[in-house]
Every structure is written in C-alpha cells, then in structure tokens.
C-alpha cells in the first residue's frame, strides 16, 4: 500500500515520469541482487548502476547545459549554426532518488548492506513519498529495517508528526513565501545598480528564504514519516548559529553533505569507508579527519592517509560537484568552489583558532561565519556568473556602501529575520528545552506557540509556490 501510495503521489505531478523513476529503481534492485550473488562481477555491475543513474541525471538535468555551452564554444570558433531546440522537462526529485539508489548500490558493493529481494520493500525505500522529491537522502540501512518492522500505531508518533508538519508549513507558507517576492525583486534589479548594502541584504534574505523553504520541506517529510512510525535523521540543526564552516556543514542539509562525504569525498581521497550513514555532514571532511578510517581498520587506513595536496584537490572537486548537483549552471559550481575556499581557509586558520579562549572562539566565529556563509548564497541565486561577480565585487568597494537600491522594508525584514533566527535558537536552548522538565510549563508554551503557528498557517496557506529544492 505504501509503495502504491508513493507511486500515486509522484503521479500527481506527472504520470509520464513515473516509469523513469521505476526504471532507475529497478536497475539498482537487479544490479544489487546480482552483486550479492556474483561477487567477482561487482565492479562491472556497480558501473552499470552508476552509468544508468548518472546517465539519466545527465540527460534530464545537464544535457541542455552541455549543448548550450558547447554551442558557445563553437560560436567562439566561428561556427554560426543555431543550437538544436531541445524540449526536456526535468523530472521532479530526480537528483534525490538517483542519489538514493546510487548509495544503495554502493553500500551493497561495499558490503555495508544486504541486497533486498523484496522489490516492494526496496521500492518503498526509494520512493517513500514523504521524502521522494526533495530529501532527506536516506540510506538503506537507516530505513529498510524500520520498514521491515512494520511500525505499529503510536499516539506519540502521531502528535510529534503533526507538530512537525505544522512547523514545516509555517516555515514555508508564512516565512519563505513572503520573503520570496523581496528576493525576486532584488535579484531582478540590474546588478550594477545595487549598492553593497543591497548585496548583503539580498544575501541574508535569500539565505533565510532557502533555509526556511528547504528546512520546511524536511520538517514536513520528517513529520509525515513519523505519522507512519518511521524516524528519519534530522536534515538541519540551526545552521545559522554555526561558529565555523565546519560547524555549518554539520548543520546544513546533513543528508546531502553526508552522502557527498561517503560516496565522493572519501573515495576521491582514496580512503575506504567502513560504514556510512546520514550523520555528521561534512564535519570530518572540514577537519581533515575524514581520511581517518572508521572502526577497526584504523591502523591499516592510517597508512593510506592522503597528502595535503590530495586532500585539497578532493575538497575543491567535491564541492564543485556538489554545487553542480544543485543545478546545471556555472553559478552553482561557483557556489561550491566558494565553500571549498571557505573550508580551506578555515583549515589553514584552525591551529590559531584552537588557541583562542572558547567564548571568544564561539562569538567571533559566529560573527565571521554567518556573513561568509550568507555571501555564498549570492552565486547560488544569481542568474548568471556575471551577475554573481558584479554583486560580489560590490562588497569590496567602500563607496558602494553609501546608497540604497531597494525599499526600506526590505532591509527591515532582513534585520527582523536575523533577530528572529538568532532568537529562536536561544529560546529553544534557554527556555523550550529546559521547560520540558516542567510538564505544565511545556504544555502551556507548546499550546501558545502552536496556536500562533496554526492561525498563521491557516491564513497563509495558498497553492502559490513550489519548494525551491523541487528544481534540483
């Protein structure tokens, strides 16, 4: 029933793309079974899986980009033909379900998980509707055992699930959707006319929009799964409270960054992964400790510890690919490289940072990390590289700080949101979490909070915009 529900859910968007998803799932299903049976052909079988999934991704997501860029190069050399008109629609969630099926095949290849013979169970893992179109990207080892157990009805799960769905809806329809017009307007202004303050404001505003939008989806996905008794790993943990790039990447889109760590970064460095999971994000990668093996293989793997140059190369390559995963545009690659540079810078400064007193490290770290991370959203949201570079250049010109190019409300909203985001984490840590020890206080606080959330969700719920991550 869950399998059929998931297929129907996807079909609500477009039925004609259901076979694409089923094809991707089936290839990995059969490949994994074959890998388990014929150990000697594992490499070839894994190549089939990778070629199929990456091929699908290339055709649907990157072919137009490839053609456009090829034509630009050909035009440069005097070839003046018009490019072919390609009519390719990006299937919803393709980046997520292909990554999920790839991870399954690789886990079977690495013998970290057993291939499943029950196709319906496997299909439920790949197409589980709460997370099908925008993650979190799950690992077979985390979900399949829960699905196998067939969780029983539990009132606590229902209540927790409903609360998470409500919070997700609040983040999406009340916050993200109301920030969107301000961001859209700002980025539609000719970049040369924007001031440095405008660029900072837009960076922060888009940073908030994408955080609310994407974490909203994650809340709804986690909540929906919880209603059915399935527990997903958290995908966000107050990322804008991070005190270093390392900290940020252990709080932001954790399931993707963990995936990238286990299936891209570590293999690129030549390290073997003893176990994998949707935990920790890229924390260890930033530390440079990810090259150290996990578990019993420590000694053996230490001998394989990569050089600094190798680690840096892997870092930049991983982040460029991670950027490209988000979309077929050079702006995303720039976003990835920007983060790689931030992490590289942090690695270099780390010995000095370690010497600082803890409080200073936290406060100063937050003051530096937040704007640096926010600025990274400029290339992510920019229409093209030119716009991204013009905007980023502005912040280095002192004279660009003396004018405003947007309505006063835009700056005000950015400031209020900044205060709210910082305040929410403090309230959560200082008031809400301690209040759980006093049931009556917790009851009152939750009721008050949920009333505000419910009223606003009810008032603002409109089918007007999709989630940003649906396009990736």
């Amino acid at each position: 029933m869950l399998f059929m529900a998931s297929v129907t859910f996807y079909g609500f968007w477009r039925w004609d793309f259901v076979p694409v998803m089923l094809f991707s799932a089936m290839v990995d299903y059969f490949v994994s079974l074959a890998m388990q049976k014929k150990q000697e052909h594992r490499k070839i079988l894994l190549s089939i899986s990778l070629l199929t999934n990456l091929g699908l991704l290339f055709y649907f997501k990157y072919l137009l980009f490839f053609v456009e860029n090829s034509w630009s190069v050909l035009n440069y050399f005097g070839f003046s033909q018009s490019p072919p008109v390609l009519n390719i629609i990006l299937p919803l969630g393709i980046s997520f379900y292909t990554f999920q099926t790839i991870s399954y095949s690789i886990d079977v290849y690495r013998r970290q998980t057993q291939a499943i013979s029950d196709f319906v169970l496997y299909g439920c893992y790949v197409m589980f509707f709460p997370q099908l179109v925008a993650g979190p990207i799950l690992r077979a080892g985390e979900v399949i055992p829960q699905l196998q157990e067939r969780p029983q009805f539990c009132s606590e799960n229902i209540a927790v699930g409903m609360k998470r769905i409500l919070v997700g809806l609040f983040l999406k329809v009340v916050l993200a959707d109301n920030i969107a017009p301000l961001v859209d307007e700002g980025f539609s202004i000719e970049a040369t006319q924007l001031s440095a303050i405008d660029v900072w404001t837009l960076a922060f505003l888009f940073g908030f929009q994408i955080y609310f939008d994407f974490s909203a989806y994650s809340h709804i996905a986690l909540g929906s799964a919880r209603l059915m008794g399935i527990v997903f790993p958290e995908n966000f943990r107050f990322p804008y409270s991070a005190t270093s790039p390392k900290d940020f990447w252990s709080r932001w889109h954790i399931s993707l960054s963990s995936w990238i760590r286990d299936y891209l970064y570590l293999p690129l460095m030549g390290a073997r992964v003893a176990s994998s999971g949707t935990q920790g994000g890229l924390e260890k990668v930033v530390d440079g400790t990810a090259s150290l093996p996990l578990g019993k293989q420590t000694k053996k793997m230490n001998q394989l510890s990569p050089s600094n140059a190798q680690r840096t190369k892997a870092l930049f390559l991983t982040w460029a690919i991670m950027g490209f995963w988000h979309g077929a545009n050079w702006t995303f690659v720039l976003w990835g490289v920007y983060h790689a540079a931030c992490i590289f810078g942090y690695r270099c400064l780390r010995p000095f940072v370690k010497e600082m007193p803890s409080t200073w490290r936290q406060v100063l770290g937050w003051f530096i990390t937040l704007p640096v991370m926010m600025l990274g959203w400029i290339p992510f949201r920019a229409i093209d590289l030119q716009q991204a570079f013009i905007m980023l250049r502005k912040i280095f010109y002192p004279q660009a700080y003396f004018s405003l190019g947007m309505r006063e409300n835009t700056y005000l909203v950015a400031l209020v949101l900044l205060a709210a985001v910082v305040g929410t984490e403090c309230i959560d840590r200082q008031i809400y979490q301690p209040s759980k020890k006093i049931p009556s206080l917790c009851f009152i606080l939750e009721t008050a909070l949920l009333t505000v959330v419910t009223v606003l969700v009810f008032v603002f719920l409109r089918p007007i915009t999709q989630f940003i991550y649906f396009q990736f």
């Binding site: 079909g11 609500f12 968007w13 477009r14 039925w15 137009l64 053609v67 456009e68 034509w71 630009s72 490019p83 072919p84 008109v85 390609l86 009519n87 390719i88 629609i89 990006l90 009132s155 606590e156 209540a159 409903m162 609360k163 307007e185 539609s188 202004i189 000719e190 006319q193 924007l194 077929a328 004018s403 405003l404 190019g405 947007m406 309505r407 006063e408 409300n409 005000l412 049931p439 009851f443 939750e446 009721t447 909070l449 949920l450 009333t451 959330v453 419910t454 009223v455 606003l456 009810f458 008032v459 603002f460 719920l461 089918p463």
Partner: protein, 381 residues
Amino acid sequence: MNKILNIFGPLFFSVTFSLLVMAGIARQPKIKFSEVALGAQNTSRFAVRDGTLIHIQKRKDFPELISGVKSRNLGNTILWLGNSQLHAINNAHVNDETAVAKVHDFLLGEFDTVATSYPNANLQEHLVTLAYLHNKLNNIKVLIVPLVFDDLRETGIRDDIQPLLENPSVAEQLKTLQCCENLVRGVFSDLDPHSSGVVKQEIETRETLQDKTEKFLDQILERNSIIWASREKARGLFFLQLYRLRNTVFAITPQTKRAVIKPRYKANIEAFKGILELANRDAIQVVSYIAPLRTDVKPPYDLAAYTSFKNEVRILCSQFPNVSFFDFERIVPAEYWGLKNTTSLNTAQEIDFMHFMEPGHQKLANAIVEVFRSMNLENVR
C-alpha cells in the same frame, strides 16, 4: 487519559483557539483594504456615464470601460492614467465627483474622457495599461499622464493587471519599443521562459493533477466555509497591523522624507520614455503634468531630488513633438487639502499629501480643460 491529554493537548487546544480566532475575524464586517490605505477621510469615486464606468481601477472593469467608449462612439478618446489622487476625494459629499468626471462632462461634445487609476500606480503599470487600451480602443487621441514623484518609488506590475501582458498585441507593442528594452525584457521575463539565453530548460507550465486538486479543494472550501473564505481578510489585517506597527516603532508619518530608490526611479523614467515613444509612434497627443502637491507644509520629498526629477521629465517631454508638459504642483490651494487617519497605532490624524477635496478636483479639471483650449482641439482631432 492523562497521557493522551499530555500528548494531544497542545495540538487540540491550539487548533480550537485558532478556529475561534478565525471565527472572530470572519464575523467582522468586510474590509476594503485599498480604502484603508487611503484613510477614512478619503472616498474612492469612479464615475459612471450612460450606465457604464468611465473611470476604473480593476482589471475586471476593463471590458465595461471599453464597451462604454464603443457604445458612445464619439470617435475621439482621451485616456487619463493616474494613481489614487485621481479617484479619491478628501471629505467627500454625496454627489462630489472627481476631476475625471468633470473633464468628461466638459469635453463631452468633442471627446470621450476615460481613466484608469491604481493606488500608488507606477509608470511601468501605466505603460502596460496604455499598450492594452490603445489596442482595444483604437481611437485614443490624447493621453494624460500625471507624474507623481512618490510613485517613482514603486516598481513592477501588480498582480491584478499582470494578465494584460499576456495579450499578444500588448507584448508586440512593448517589445518594439526602443527606449526601454531592458525594462520590457524584465517585465516579460516571468512570462516567457525562452526570453533570454540560447537553450533553456523547459519550464513546466502545464497544470498538473496536483494543481487541479489544490484549486478544486480551495474552491470547495471557499464556497462552503466562511472561516476559509475569510482568510484573505485575515491576511490583509495581519499586514495592516504590521504596517501600523512599523510606522509607530519608526515614527513614520506622511511628512517623513522618502528617499529616491535609484533602480526603481530609473525603471519608471524608462517606462515614461516608453509611454512617450508609444504615443509618438501613433500620433497621440500627450499631456503630462507634475501632480498637485500640498505646498503649505514641508513636502515629504528631498527638495533637491524633487527639483531634479521635475527638470528631468521636463527635458524628456521637450524631446517629443507631441508632448506638452505642465507643472500643476501648486494649482490646489492649501484649504482644499485635508487630513487622514493615522497609519500608525495611535489615533491622531495626519496630513494628506496626495488626496484633495472636491474643489481641488475642480481646480485640476479646470487646469486640464485650459490646457485643451490652448492646444487647439481641432488639431488633435
């Protein structure tokens, strides 16, 4: 039982309280938010002649305006574009009418005067409206364009009139304008996924089953639940209170100086050039004027920027042979301006810089008629 209450209590009570709040909002009388923004002392008047509107604000009224012009069949149409100054009367009496109605009646034998006015209308919206009505009416001979400095802080095409851009003739007219290519590209970028770049990923525009289901459910709920139907009112109230709170916290009053927002200013000046080019191309006579402003108190403008703006549009107008430019800033005396309810959380009244009383409308109408007399109407026809 206690456990169930602990688990579901917050959810149950929050949903109950929310429904009570929404029921309270639903019971409140209908609020016209465009009127709230005007203030209680101002009344919107849209003149009707021969049973049809000659002055409109909403897209839904365009067919009525167009059919009215066609049925009167006077041959020569004056199109007056404006903001709320054109449709609001401060301290209005029952039979008071706006300058549009007065000019319409005065010139009736020779011209059919019609108007569109939107609150805080910007010149980009005027450009789109002109392109649309020019095609629909075919006989616009004179175009009146007031220039309100404050409205150059606005940008974009409001949702209500955005569908006008989907009209092929509007797109055709706007895309052939040479003076404001960037602006027009920006205006259409949302509508046309292939407008820039060599090959673009196909954007899904077909209505999916999900869209249809959501719309269907929304309509059912809208029809059958007064609480669901009152959500728009609740949204309006929410933003109104936020607006009032902002004005109170930052002590924003009508006299607070408004800074020029350069990108918006530039976009509107480009749009104004577009209006003049479009009119010039089809030999439409243009009367453009600096809108009346209350001058007995300090205006909410930076005077240097305001003077520079007036000079800029004056020079621009002089570059087109079919354009006459007038400065009507001082034509409405101080006694014809009024006050309006405050836009903050206190109860005081504030100076209204935008809307005047009926005698003010008479002054504006007289000034326009005087312009027409001086223009030699025979030439226009």
